[in-house]
């Protein structure tokens, strides 16, 4: 063992004497200054959630304007609609790969559905615009009736729906008239929508449609159905976002009652739950999964990417409800937008800065690692090392360790500098972090531990990319080649995370599994927050979890190690 440590120390000394070290340190210092200059804690204040935008400022403006346009009931009805649509399509039970003459019928059915709901929407907004004018209201009702009759002119459906027409209209008129009679009542289009939807649900109109379509056999799923599903998920998701914004705007309001906040969370939780059910049930729907056209792809994008995030959200809400708490009692898992207790502090800054520095450190570990094997082979120095009384295994191990230690030294160095800078400028806050492990387990942890875990995950990533560089050096013996290929793989894996998160094979790729920190609750956040996190952290496919990623990465590491060691032992050193 002392032999091994002698060797590692020698290798490390060699690295630390390389002139490139000045370049590395210089670039790292620039990175530290850069992350300090782009880190803007004031814009992050009071905002727990970003509604999007290319810059933080833009996102913040969007956020402020969106808070006024919220609508709870709308959200609920949309979720219900989505659920109903879902049931409807699920119950179609269409066998795949069969084309049929009945294809047009299912399309007709769809158009009726669309017309039906469009008419209801139009009418309800028309009613809302009638501001206390009886004549206008009556005109609206007449239009509604005409449109409705046109919409259901299909002989298959007309009988069933026409008989119910009167009931709907009666109900609507009654409601509207009662509003008109009561001048103090704040008249709202939502009331009408609610009435209509309640009616539809109570009278099992959709179920009847489903029964009807069940009788139509041998039909192929159409683009229209897919676009409907897509629309459904988009609608529900928009609704969820709106809810989130509402909750967060309320956090910012000092007069807002804690109880109301908790209600908001509960509602949000329900909404997320509904969306998750929607997404998960449709994922099991084979015809959709198998379809490869662009609609299906878009749909799957929603389903696969949001599934994990939704589960995470639900777990978080459940925890808050059960513990009678609100999320601002905790610091959130770090990213650029969600900050601990809405005030940035040293921990946030460490996380933020390390995203940038980690990226640079990995690149330099790749350069150094490749230089230690392929570089030394090229310039002939490896020969003088290989004739020392150390087996090839020991030499390779020492090189791997030395590069890793170099990476660890620089990581810790950056972390300490970032922490000190953060402490001086933003102060420190030990509020516990609420994290969600594997999207299923909520945990509360000191921010110190979270940062340490983050560092461990970063070092794990550094190790893997160093190993890749060394493997490539051993196989191809070319320094430039090894550095080039490794850095290409690094960028490529980042790009991969952005482009292919939605494909089912994504979860099986080693590159998707190197980032273990995302399983601590940063999935939702890191996917849309820090511009660097977007670029360099991979997304989560809905069936991935910590153990899965650990196993896939483990297998990858073992394969690389076997390949590297076998090859290096066999190799003749020229």
């Amino acid at each position: 063992m002392s032999k091994m440590s002698r060797l590692i120390r020698g290798e490390l000394n060699k690295i630390l004497m390389r002139p490139i070290l000045y370049v590395i340190t210089g670039i790292l210092v620039v990175a530290l200054i850069f992350s300090f200059s782009i880190f803007n804690p004031t814009e992050r204040k009071d905002s727990e959630y970003s509604v999007g935008g290319t810059t933080n400022t833009e996102a913040y403006t969007n956020f402020s304007t969106h808070t006024g346009t919220m609508n709870k009931s709308l959200a609920d009805t949309q979720v219900d609609t989505a659920q109903i649509y879902l049931n409807y399509y699920q119950n179609l039970k269409i066998p795949a790969n069969k084309y049929t003459t009945k294809f047009s019928e299912i399309d007709t059915l769809n158009s009726i559905m669309s017309a039906y709901s469009a008419n209801i929407y139009n009418t309800s907004s028309n009613i809302a615009n009638c501001n206390y004018n009886r004549n206008q209201l009556i005109n609206v009702l007449i239009t509604f009736r005409t449109n409705f009759n046109e919409a259901v002119s299909n002989p298959n459906l007309s009988i069933m729906i026409k008989t119910d027409n009167i009931d709907i209209i009666t109900s609507l008129v009654q409601k509207a008239l009662s509003r008109l009679n009561n001048e103090d009542y704040d008249y709202s289009s939502l009331e009408v929508q609610e009435t209509v939807y309640n009616y539809l649900i109570n009278n099992k109109i959709f179920e009847q449609l489903i029964t009807l379509t069940n009788s139509i056999k041998d039909v192929e799923i159409s683009d229209t159905i897919l676009s409907k599903l897509n629309l459904m998920v988009t609608m529900t998701r928009t609704n969820l976002t709106t809810r989130y914004q509402e909750i967060n705007s309320n956090y910012a309001n000092p007069d807002y009652q804690l109880e109301t906040l908790k209600d908001d969370i509960r509602e949000y939780y329900q909404c997320a739950g509904q969306l998750l059910t929607l997404v998960q049930t449709t994922l099991q729907y084979e015809p959709i999964k198998n379809l490869v056209d662009s609609e299906a792809h878009t749909y799957n994008t929603y389903a696969n990417t949001y599934s994990y995030q939704l589960q995470e959200t639900i777990t978080k809400c459940t925890y808050l409800i059960e513990n009678n708490a609100v999320s601002s009692n905790y610091a959130m898992m770090y990213n650029a937008v969600i900050t601990s207790n809405s005030e940035a502090n040293a921990f946030d800054f460490v996380y933020y800065g390390l995203e940038l520095c980690g990226f640079i450190i990995i690149i330099f570990c790749v350069v150094i690692g490749a230089g230690m094997v392929a570089g030394e082979q090229t310039n002939g120095t490896l020969k003088l090392l290989a004739i020392r009384p150390f087996s090839r295994n020991k030499i390779l191990t020492s090189k791997l360790w030395a590069t890793l230690i170099f990476g660890i030294i620089f990581t810790l160095f950056s972390a300490v500098i970032l922490f000190i800078t953060g402490y001086i400028f933003y102060g420190i806050d030990f509020t516990s972090v609420l994290g969600i492990f594997n999207a299923t387990t909520a945990f509360v942890m000191s921010p110190v531990w979270v940062i340490l875990i983050y560092l461990a995950c970063l070092i794990f990533k550094i190790f893997i990319y160093t190993l890749i560089a060394i493997t490539i050096s051993v196989i191809f013996r070319s320094n430039v080649g090894a550095v080039g290929i490794s850095i290409f793989i690094y960028f490529f894996s980042a790009l991969f995370g952005v482009l292919f998160t939605t494909s089912y094979w994504y979860a099986y790729l080693p590159f998707s599994n190197f980032d273990l920190f995302k399983y601590l609750g940063g999935a939702f956040a890191s996917s849309q927050a820090n511009p660097l996190a977007i670029a360099f952290s991979s997304g989560i496919y809905y069936n991935m979890n910590f153990i899965w990623s650990a196993i896939i990465s483990g297998i990858f590491i073992v394969l690389l190690l076997i390949l590297t060691y076998v090859q290096f032992n066999k190799r003749e050193i020229k």
Partner: protein
């Protein structure tokens, strides 16, 4: 009989179908300076690499101090110091840092040893300069220094005089000679520069196309190939005439080389030949007795071997 430091047992190395080494088998004893002579591509470097474990033989085994390089690498090469074709030390470090790095790889090499070795190879003045500022010869010396650091029992030097100037070659020779005498280290040295090997080695092996043609001590070589074939070189004014005369009169083979004629040397007839030339008024500008050198022997052995192969 002194101890065997290096035993090369029946080593064969093949690259694909081509034999790089074929059944190479020899021993090097303690304190011996063993020269490996052969044309480029004869397999000298391949053998050096196999001995130092950089390359694995197809069959056969190499023992250093009785330990197999192939099976017990670490305990075998602890006794080895080597300098193998275009080996380099780290250019961005100073000479001292390089030596320090290599010395740390072994247990218990004192710091003073670095100065000792630097002094031995004559690098004391430049030891603290970065290696990238060194000339080729200086790099060669630093490479030699690192091979000597841990006082190995066996020293392998592949083309050590590459890039050295005349003084450097002489110094190196003296250093190695002194080293061998002082520390009883065995030295295996390869080169294609024959006069140099002749002055340095105790034993030489002549290799060609992967096989050893001949292993002899230098004395043995001279005895076998050189005795009685001393030659007399006479510089004259009419070499053509003189050659014809001598051939007709004494019936000995005569060679012409410029203004000289060369005849086999024989103490009995040397005087007669000179007298005969003088009688015919041929002016003799000078005479010289030449012994066959390693170069001649080497060429002869190669020739012998080739004709042997053909017949």
């Amino acid at each position: 009989m002194s101890e065997k430091i290096l035993e090369v047992k029946n080593v064969t190395k093949m690259y694909g179908d081509r034999y790089a080494l074929r059944n190479v088998d020899f021993d090097v004893y303690a304190g011996e300076i063993f020269g490996f002579i052969g044309p480029n591509g004869a397999g000298k470097s391949t053998l050096m690499k196999i001995i130092s474990g950089l390359s694995k033989p197809t069959t056969g085994e190499v023992f250093i101090c009785g330990k197999s390089v192939q099976k017990k690498f670490e305990s075998a090469v602890v006794n080895l110091g080597a300098m193998i074709e275009n080996c380099q030390v780290y250019g961005y470090m100073t000479g001292r840092q390089n030596l320090n790095y290599y010395s740390k790889l072994y247990k218990g090499i004192p710091k003073s040893r670095i100065d000792e070795v630097a002094d031995l190879v004559g690098m004391t003045a430049r030891i603290n300069d970065p290696v990238r500022t060194y000339s080729l010869g200086m790099r060669q010396r630093i490479a030699l220094a690192q091979a000597l650091l841990h006082q190995p029992r066996l020293l392998i030097l592949d083309e050590p005089t590459n890039g050295l100037d005349v003084n450097g070659v002489i110094e190196l020779r003296q250093t190695l000679r002194a080293l061998s005498a002082k520390t009883n280290v065995s030295i295996l040295v390869s080169s294609h520069i024959l006069p140099e090997m002749e002055q340095l080695c105790d034993t030489v092996a002549i290799v060609d196309k992967g096989s050893i043609l001949e292993i002899r001590t230098l004395d043995e070589l001279h005895e076998k190939n050189g005795s009685g074939i001393q030659r007399l070189r006479i510089r004259v004014n009419y070499p053509n005439y003189a050659a014809k005369l001598i051939y007709l009169k004494f019936d000995v083979p005569v060679e012409k080389a410029g203004n000289s004629i060369i005849v086999p040397f024989n103490p009995d007839n040397a005087q007669k030949i000179i007298n005969a030339l003088e009688q015919r008024n041929i002016k003799i500008y000078g005479t010289k007795i030449e012994t066959k050198n390693l170069e001649d022997i080497y060429i002869e052995i190669l020739k012998e071997h080739h004709t042997g192969n053909i017949s």
